[in-house]
Symmetry: C2
Subunit: 153 residues, 2 copies
């Protein structure tokens, strides 16, 4: 094995504080969304995607691709959303491959009720804590990381 190049002090500081801050931040936003709307961030994200899609309808494979999630994770989440009455599955007569997921009126209402409190939570713990310059830097850093993690996108 080749010897590892260890992290210097600045690299160590950045990685350790990033790891801790991220875990605490995402836990906090998740807890507040759960308390305010009874749903985890994964479900919220799926409702947002469906609400923005034509006819509020998407295939499972599209939902997996857009969220960069494993199909099994999406299948599980959609089953839960269906139980809650927030989405329904429909068979497309025009397409033999065809089951799609449709956002229901009830699902749209749940999303509209959750959104203001979720946005307030993101604002309170992330956006309003940083300067506009830091918000821009964080966006650039995240895009750089995504280019490395998802080279084919």
């Amino acid at each position: 094995m080749t010897s590892a190049r260890w992290l210097d002090d600045e690299e160590q500081r950045s990685w350790r504080t990033f790891g801790l801050a991220t875990r605490l931040l995402l836990d906090r936003i998740e807890r507040e969304l759960q308390e305010a709307a009874g749903m985890p961030p994964t479900y919220y994200e799926l409702l947002v995607l469906l609400s923005e899609a034509p006819d509020r309808t998407m295939r499972m494979s599209e939902l997996a691709r857009w969220t960069h999630s494993k199909p099994s994770r999406i299948t599980h989440a959609i089953a839960k959303l269906e139980q809650a009455g927030w989405v329904r599955r429909e068979h497309l007569a025009s397409d033999r491959r065809g089951w799609v997921t449709v956002l229901t009126g009830e699902g749209l209402s749940a999303l509209q009720a959750a959104a203001p409190r979720h946005v307030a939570s993101v604002r309170t713990h992330l956006i309003d804590v940083l300067s506009p310059e830091q918000i821009r830097q964080l966006g650039d850093i995240s895009e750089t990381l995504l280019k490395h993690l998802l080279p084919d996108d």
Copy 2:
């Protein structure tokens, strides 16, 4: 309810790319540590803390405080590490409150075997992807977030 102030385009970009990049990055580093060393990041972090402590010994409450974790999470993790033979519990005769967790020789070896590959993983997916300027920015942003999330620290 007061109306929510929505995110503008730059804020939205920063939050969405940050959320996705962070999830993908931490999943990747976790998977690689699990493959290389058979342990999740939580266990690795506990072994590092113990290895740096006087006599490689810490109380459960100290481990919880340093990792900013719930005591139940630490209790569970320490039980698993004990099963693996990487730590042992000891009663301090000098202290009536007194159970402590001690890193074993086997635990130290496991940490030393895992460390080079974990560092290489952090380097490959985070440190070497960013410029030195971005590493500094990410450290500053993370410290700003931690000051908000942990005001009493």
